[in-house]
């Protein structure tokens, strides 16, 4: 149950996620090798517009990408369609967005020294 618009949304969100994932892994390696503590990391991310946009756009891309992917799996394996399938897609996307937004908020909001 995939049309051109869902396909484009999933492919474009994948394009967004790919460099952000690589950036995240690079930062993780840097942070671990540099011996940064959680407190020091938070000290750099909290209040940072850059890290808010970095992880914020990642969370949006994940929410779109995963919701569409799970929609296809659920449709093909359970036969769910119509309003039920739309509710599942939006519900999954919304839940992921909410959970991701909480994490982004915790890492980047307030607390800047």
């Amino acid at each position: 149950m995939m049309n051109l618009h869902l396909y484009m949304a999933q492919r474009i969100s994948a394009l967004v996620m790919a460099p952000l994932t690589l950036g995240h892994i690079a930062v993780m390696i840097y942070a671990v090798q540099g011996g940064l503590s959680a407190e020091e990391i938070l000290g750099r991310t909290q209040g940072s517009v850059f890290w808010f946009l970095f992880y914020g756009s990642f969370v949006v891309a994940v929410s779109v990408h995963a919701a569409i992917g799970l929609r296809v799996i659920v449709h093909e394996h359970t036969g769910l369609r119509g309003a039920g399938l739309a509710a599942f897609t939006w519900g999954t996307g919304g839940l992921l967005l909410l959970m991701g937004a909480r994490a982004v908020h915790a890492v980047t909001a307030g607390g800047a020294s």
Binding site: M1, M2, N3, L4, L6, Y7, M8, R11, H75, E76
Partner: protein, 241 residues
């Protein structure tokens, strides 16, 4: 006819969707196709057995069936290549409604062929001069790659995406759409992209490749569908209408 050697144990689907397999003992011969075996049952064991065939030489696409769970053109598949411990199972094509025994209802298959924009719409009338087409040209080569499809529905029966998503147009219909999209003599090329972009369109394909693996004519519907995905994507950015 060569001398009869031994018996084959042939399980054949009987009845409609809620039917069951019935086993027949069929004489095994040195040179024998699956269609020969099915025909023997119908002629010598049970005349009520229903199945479909026409040309017997791999041209018409009528005789496709599931053989040991895999879709095959039965007139061109030698029994020796599929028999396991002297037994073989023959059923109606997967992903299509069963009419009776080995005859599947092909209507959904052909309806999707039309829904994918598969009906040719000429770009010129008989009064216009004939357009010269270079057979080496890229578009023409793409179109030519798919024109040997015999509509046997083997790819459709092999497709797991069709099995999970009955709205999906399927490999044969989409390959036909790709063929016409690349045909300079087709008048309705952009509408093909719209026809294959809906909920059952080419974007549902997971590129598992069963269509290309099982196509008896060794065509490549998976690549044709990839071509449609590529062109619909280009068109998406180009027009944004």
């Amino acid at each position: 006819m060569p001398e009869e050697a031994e018996k084959l144990e042939v399980s054949v689907w009987r009845g409609g969707a809620d039917g069951a397999y019935e086993t027949f003992q069929v004489p095994a011969y040195e040179n024998q196709t699956i269609l020969d075996v099915v025909s023997w049952i119908q002629q010598y064991a049970d005349p009520t057995l229903t199945y479909r065939f026409a040309c017997r030489v791999g041209m018409c696409g009528s005789c496709a069936m599931m053989v040991n769970g895999r879709p095959r053109w039965t007139c061109r598949t030698h029994i020796r290549t599929v028999v396991q411990d002297g037994a073989v199972q023959v059923g109606p094509l997967r992903n299509l409604p069963v009419i009776k025994d080995l005859a599947a209802d092909m209507d959904p298959f052909f309806d999707k062929w039309v829904a994918a924009g598969g009906v040719h719409s000429p770009s010129a009338t008989r009064h216009d001069p004939m357009e010269a087409i270079d057979p080496q040209e890229t578009d023409r080569a793409e179109a030519s790659a798919g024109i040997e499809c015999i509509n046997c529905s083997v790819c459709y029966a092999a497709c797991d995406t069709v099995a999970g998503n009955p709205d999906y147009l399927g490999p044969a219909a989409l390959q036909r759409a790709w063929t016409l999209y690349n045909d300079a003599k087709h008048d309705d090329r952009v509408n093909i992209l719209d026809a294959v972009s809906g909920n059952g369109g080419c974007h549902n394909c997971h590129s598992m490749g069963s269509c290309t693996v099982y196509c008896p004519n060794e065509l490549d519907p998976m690549s044709a569908i990839a071509g449609l995905k590529r062109e619909t994507t280009r068109n998406f950015f180009r027009k944004r209408r």
